[in-house]
């Protein structure tokens, strides 16, 4: 402790003997850490926002199907409406919203073109709570009820079919009896999502669709939402318990792409962190070696006066602890300031056309996970001090006689 009181002020003042070099090292460490924190929070926000936007569109956080429907979504693999047990589980507070849908592959035909689509028969009242499609209408109206036999189609599909609001299109779906059912629908609404989605999904009233294909009140899926994503696995488990014969999955298992994207975003933060760690290490080794070589004579003097090799090691190490510690603190402050400065969110709507492929929401809310805010700075600090042990060890090894012969 006495040694610490002796060496700490010395180390601190030594830092400022070459202010330019110290400032450069502080810059490297703090900007390096800041970039990692900023990137981690941006990517987390991005991943979360794009995931939420995708889930919000139609997928929801989980879906229930009859066994086998997902492998081959056709009319033989429909399910009954939820029974009392499942209904109780769905209406429990752990599930915030749910909606039953009839979804079948179909062909849509206009005067000009025939295209494959997926027709979704919805209960608008439930759909409005769980899906963002009703909010994305750019023309016309959303469906008014399950009996509504109008069609809501995507903007791009309308363009490709060369149809428009108020015109009619023909939908062909394989019915219960194996025959192709065919009926014309009024286009009552046009929605604007991403083009792939627009090309795929056509919406109509659930009862109208059931009547058309003759499946009684059977449905294809129940989409559900939970208030907290962390609680999702638990909810899936309790739903499975309520309906053991059904196929119940959360979004990670429904959309492998989305799950993989989530993981790869985390990975890219770690890759960047590694790059920064290498750069910071090189920077720190460089400056500390220079700082040691410049002071060989002085270390000789200190040793001649009675400082032990261990003291010299401690002195130089303390210098790096302070230097890198200060850089890390500045980096943390910069990271926090960035998040705070952008607390109103980053508005991406100006780029939303270009970024459509990423399916992100339009406003990102940055946030540094508390664990990242501890782990990244600590890792950089420890690493910096660790690599600086080498210059420190070289300083400790200097023989006082050799050092004093060394002209300053």
């Amino acid at each position: 402790m006495e040694n610490f009181r002796l060496l700490a002020p010395l180390a601190w003042r030594n830092l400022w003997r070459n202010p330019r070099r110290t400032v450069i090292t502080l810059f490297v460490v703090s900007v390096g850490l800041w970039s990692v924190l900023a990137m981690a929070s941006f990517i987390t926000a991005w991943a979360q926002s794009s995931r939420d936007a995708t889930l919000r569109l139609l997928l929801a956080q989980g879906q229930i199907h009859a066994e086998g429907y997902l492998d081959n979504p056709n009319i033989d693999r429909l399910m009954d409406r939820p029974d009392a047990t499942l209904l109780a589980a769905l209406n429990a507070p752990e599930v915030s919203n749910w909606a039953a849908r009839l979804e079948l592959p179909a062909v849509v035909q206009s005067e000009y073109k025939t295209l494959p689509v997926s027709v979704v028969g919805v209960v608008p009242e439930a759909e409005i709570r769980i899906s963002s499609v009703p909010e994305k209408l750019v023309e016309g109206r959303y469906l008014s009820g399950p009996e509504d036999d109008g069609a809501v189609i995507g903007l791009n599909l309308a363009k490709r079919l060369k149809t428009a609001l108020g015109r009619r299109v023909i939908l062909m779906i394989t019915g219960e009896d194996g025959w192709l059912e065919e009926r014309s629908f009024d286009v009552v609404g046009i929605y604007d999502a991403d083009t792939a989605f627009e090309d795929t999904y056509v919406f109509t009233g659930q009862t109208a669709m059931q009547n058309m294909v003759g499946v009684g009140d059977k449905i294809a899926q129940i989409a559900f939402e939970v208030p907290q994503d962390d609680a999702l696995s638990g909810v899936v488990d309790s739903l499975r318990a309520a309906a053991p014969t059904l196929d119940i999955r959360q979004w990670r298992d429904l959309s492998l792409m989305l799950g993989a994207m989530d993981a790869s975003m985390d990975a890219s933060v770690y890759v960047w962190m590694s790059v920064m760690m290498v750069m910071i290490s090189i920077g720190v080794i460089n400056t500390q070696l220079m700082a040691v070589f410049e002071r060989i004579h002085e270390f000789g003097l200190l040793r001649a006066l009675g400082l032990k090799p261990g003291h010299v090691l401690a002195l130089v190490t303390l210098e790096s602890v302070l230097l890198i510690g200060l850089g890390v603190l500045i980096g943390m402050a910069m990271g926090a300031a960035t998040v705070w400065g952008l607390r109103d969110g980053i508005d991406l709507s100006a780029f939303s056309q270009a970024l459509e492929a990423f399916k992100s929401g339009e406003v990102l809310y940055l946030e540094i996970k508390p664990i990242d805010y501890v782990i990244f700075p600590l890792a950089i600090w420890l690493l910096g001090v660790l690599v600086a042990l080498w210059p420190a060890w070289r300083a400790a090894k200097i023989s006082p006689v050799e050092a004093m012969r060394h002209a300053t």
Partner: protein, 235 residues
């Protein structure tokens, strides 16, 4: 050697010291069999041509380096076989050093430089403060305690070095060309100062030097040549 009554005691004793730097063809025999006793109260100069081994000998005595052969004893303690850490402690407790130049730690004030060795020796805060200030006053630097070395002249810096060498109450002060970088007036003042400290306080000095003004004050003059002592005279 026998010591009786007020007979002088040897503070430093060198027996058969040789020092060889390097090996084989490149070997440099810096010291070739040195036998030397420095007595309590000596004010001795060590002279000789460049390369004769003055610095090397001072380093051996100051426990900064090991002899190749022979034994150095400082204040009754043999240096042979002591660890680096034990040698550091011995330097701290028994030896004061004054070097030719860059003697001071640049980031410490005059007072802090002097206090430094006391802190290493774990002297209490109050005591080291008063001892450091007294030592600085002794060398005539009252009022300059808080100046950094860069704000002191070369002569003043050497005075701080003297104060630091003395403050730990060492058994011997070793000075290697302490005046080499100073003008003649400053050299004169510095030698007077060291001489006075020797006379008044009985501090033992051993100084390597080329400077005739330093030698003029010496009470004991040792001449070296080619790693050997060729004369040792008291005046």
């Amino acid at each position: 050697m026998q010591h009786k009554g007020n007979e002088m005691t040897a503070i430093v004793s060198c027996k058969g010291i040789t020092k060889v730097f390097g090996k084989g063809e490149l070997a440099v025999h810096a010291l070739r069999g040195i036998d030397l006793d420095i007595m309590e109260g000596d004010f001795a100069t060590l002279a000789g041509p460049s390369g004769s081994g003055k610095t090397t000998l001072l380093n051996m005595i100051g426990a900064l380096d090991h002899p190749t052969e022979g034994e150095v004893t400082v204040d009754g303690q043999s240096l042979s076989g002591l660890s680096k850490s034990a040698l550091s402690d011995l330097r701290l407790q028994k030896v004061g050093f004054i070097f030719q130049a860059y003697n001071l730690v640049p980031v410490l004030s005059a007072r802090e430089n002097v206090e430094f060795v006391l802190r290493l020796a774990k002297v209490s805060v109050a005591e080291r403060r008063s001892r450091a200030d007294a030592a600085l006053a002794e060398v005539g630097l009252q009022g300059m305690e808080t100046r950094r070395p860069s704000a002191l002249s070369g002569g003043q810096q050497q005075r701080v070095a003297i104060a630091r060498a003395l403050v730990g109450r060492p058994r011997i002060v070793l000075a290697d060309e302490p005046t080499a970088n100073l003008d003649s007036k400053t050299t004169g003042e510095l030698v007077d100062l060291m001489y006075r400290l020797n006379q008044d306080s009985g501090i033992t000095f051993l100084m390597g030097t080329h400077d005739p003004r330093v030698m003029a004050h010496s009470k004991r003059h040792i001449e070296m040549e080619d790693g050997q002592i060729i004369s040792d005279t008291r005046s």
